[in-house]
Symmetry: C2
Subunit: 390 residues, 2 copies
């Protein structure tokens, strides 16, 4: 018997229903895992509770208030006064793309200083927005000296320098002293990836002279992924206003987004309201702790992790001087199957650590102590599991 839906009001033919892709599933029932990989990390229970709250409309005055709170707290965590500071309705990669899409004018030179996987991603993305991409690279695990950056800037004279502060693929932290001044001297904008630093590692965007930056919600901030910090300062905003063609990305066009996040409140897209609830709560908890205390907590727990790892005979891939407190690359001992170890940890202990990415695949594990997960007891548990598995 043909279904009877809508025959009087829908003008389409009444067609047969195909059930080949229909599923009969039990309610979602997931293991409770400790996520000590490169992210997502576990979110604070308060954050998770907020994500399950009844949604509000994306133009509801109460929701607009939540957006304003988020903007302000993002500025605090990043240490910037940039008016154009928002959360992009996508993951960190969308926020990364937003910085490039809004900063690049077709045909101009963009210099990417890449020290790992996410620097390489910047190279790929920048090319898609019509940039003449130039790049310099470092072995994975090392960082650039200011002299190296200056030399490349003098060679290529780029309109934009983009680099990664905290390289999630290597665990290295790029020193920022002098880079902002260099960019100003050369008349270039500075784009900074703070995906694995924001909230867990000192970020002083204004003092550093950063023009555009992006991050994610699921690492130092301690939320779940999906709503991602984005900021741009006056120099970048002025350049955006000088465009004669629309930004080549509608969803991430800051001209449009600024009218939704700003006082005009012009509808752009339907915000992922429940994610913003979680982000607001995670940022509230970070304000409660004080960002300088959060940075210190990450540093203290990371140093404890390194010491404990060394005590069981493991060593770190990155020099201590440049080592991220949020994400540690641990060398895989000779003869050990890295993926087998992490798979066993996941299966037998409900503990996730990350495998190496790109050049470091098979050579390191990636251990994250980020946001809510940066706690001493998590280090003790991890070490205990490492002892059993190795």
């Amino acid at each position: 018997m043909a279904p009877k839906y809508g025959q009087t009001t829908m003008t389409s033919t009444t067609l047969e229903i195909r059930n080949s892709q229909k599923q009969q599933l039990a309610p979602l029932n997931l293991p409770n895992r400790l996520l000590l990989g490169p992210g997502p990390s576990n979110a604070h229970p308060t954050v998770l509770q907020a994500m399950g709250m009844n949604p509000l409309g994306h133009l509801d005055p109460q929701f607009l208030g939540v957006m304003d709170e988020i903007r302000s707290m993002l500025r605090y965590v990043w240490q910037t006064e940039n008016a154009m500071t928002i959360a992009v309705s996508g993951t960190g990669s969308a926020a990364m793309e937003a910085t490039l899409a809004n900063a690049i004018h077709q045909g101009e030179t963009v210099l990417i200083a890449s020290m790992g996987y996410f620097g390489n991603r910047l190279i790929d993305m920048a090319g898609r927005y019509g940039a003449q991409v130039k790049s310099i690279t470092k072995p994975w695990g090392e960082v650039f000296s200011l002299a190296e950056l200056r030399s490349a800037m003098e060679t290529h004279r780029p309109a934009i320098l983009a680099l990664v502060h905290a390289e999630t693929s290597t665990g290295a932290c790029q020193p920022m002293d002098g880079i902002g001044d260099l960019c100003r001297e050369m008349g270039a904008l500075l784009i900074l990836d703070t995906v694995t630093s924001m909230g867990g590692v000192p970020t002083h965007l204004d003092d550093w002279g950063v023009d555009l930056a992006y991050s994610c919600s699921q690492k130092g901030i301690g939320c779940s992924p999906g709503a991602s910090p984005f900021t741009m300062g006056d120099r970048a905003w002025t350049k955006l206003q000088a465009r004669t063609t629309p930004v080549e990305n509608w969803y991430l066009d800051m001209n449009l987004l600024s009218k939704y996040w700003g006082p005009e409140r012009v509808y752009h897209h339907t915000a992922p309201v429940n994610l913003y609830y979680g982000l607001r709560e995670a940022l509230r908890l970070l304000c409660e702790e004080g960002v300088e205390n959060a940075w210190k907590r990450h540093q203290t727990n990371a140093e404890y992790l390194w010491q404990q790892l060394e005590s069981i005979g493991l060593s770190m891939h990155v020099d201590k001087q440049y080592r991220l407190p949020t994400l540690t690359t641990v060398r895989v001992p000779e003869g050990v199957d890295a993926k087998a170890v992490s798979a066993r940890m996941l299966k037998e202990f409900d503990l996730e650590i990350g495998n190496g990415l790109g050049e470091l695949a098979g050579k390191v594990w990636r251990v994250g102590l980020m946001g809510y997960n940066s706690r001493r007891e998590n280090v003790d548990h991890l070490i205990d599991v490492f002892k059993q598995v190795l």
Copy 2:
């Protein structure tokens, strides 16, 4: 006293902390509202509960299983067998942009048949991807005849025809009979916006000959916004493979996304895992109900709404023949301040309805009965509130 974080391991200068943007906030405390606007709609309690579950890693085998379940159930709800069916990690507008970004080759002609605000958005977006955009329009609230579409196709000979099935700004539903055949005859791809139809109005993508389609999670599907259905069939996939330059959008590049959602499981971005939990549960409930029954429920409750609105002297903007069951545009009576009425409903009754958008601003209200909210008691409550407020 200067903060002491990281002086031994971070090479950046230790800088003062600025607290000007720091917030001291109470825990999130939001009103419990009934959302009968154009979306988001309220999500089923089971869906909200799932969104607050402990996250898994985006490459965790258990999470990859959730992704597979989502893919299959999206195909069922849309009535398609397209292999490349996924949820995009952004809202419906991102999924809209994904169809254009992956379908348009620079310089080719794209015909947009626009009958409202979201058709106009397609025009804006398509231009950003290098299309020669041609458009035809209808007064807001009307739909295209097949003859009108054929005439425009013969005039412009486009490589792509894009149109909106369920126009959220007008409440009109475009009949789909013959459009797919027309596009095949003319050698064009067919892109269809099903944002306000999927799950609530019959969508037979394969029978209709649709090549690419997109939707959202927060309407007929009954989830919260942020993870958005996308599908492309073989003809569109073949065209994508024939590109000689990368898709001009990294985040939405289906070549990359297919490697994450497919058997290769190559990392692309960190999926918004908690949103996918909610989407999986909403789709599971839809499978449990049966999509044909969900469509019927939307139709039955919409007809009851129309009848009840007429009984209190209100009239509908769209001819009954083309009226969407998910979203109804209600004419604002002469002399009534539309925005004041909806604002009072929100403030005094915790009830959200939508205001008119674009050409229909001030002329209609937009009432949604979508997903979990398509229930008879919601109609009764709305009518009761209308009686008190008007």
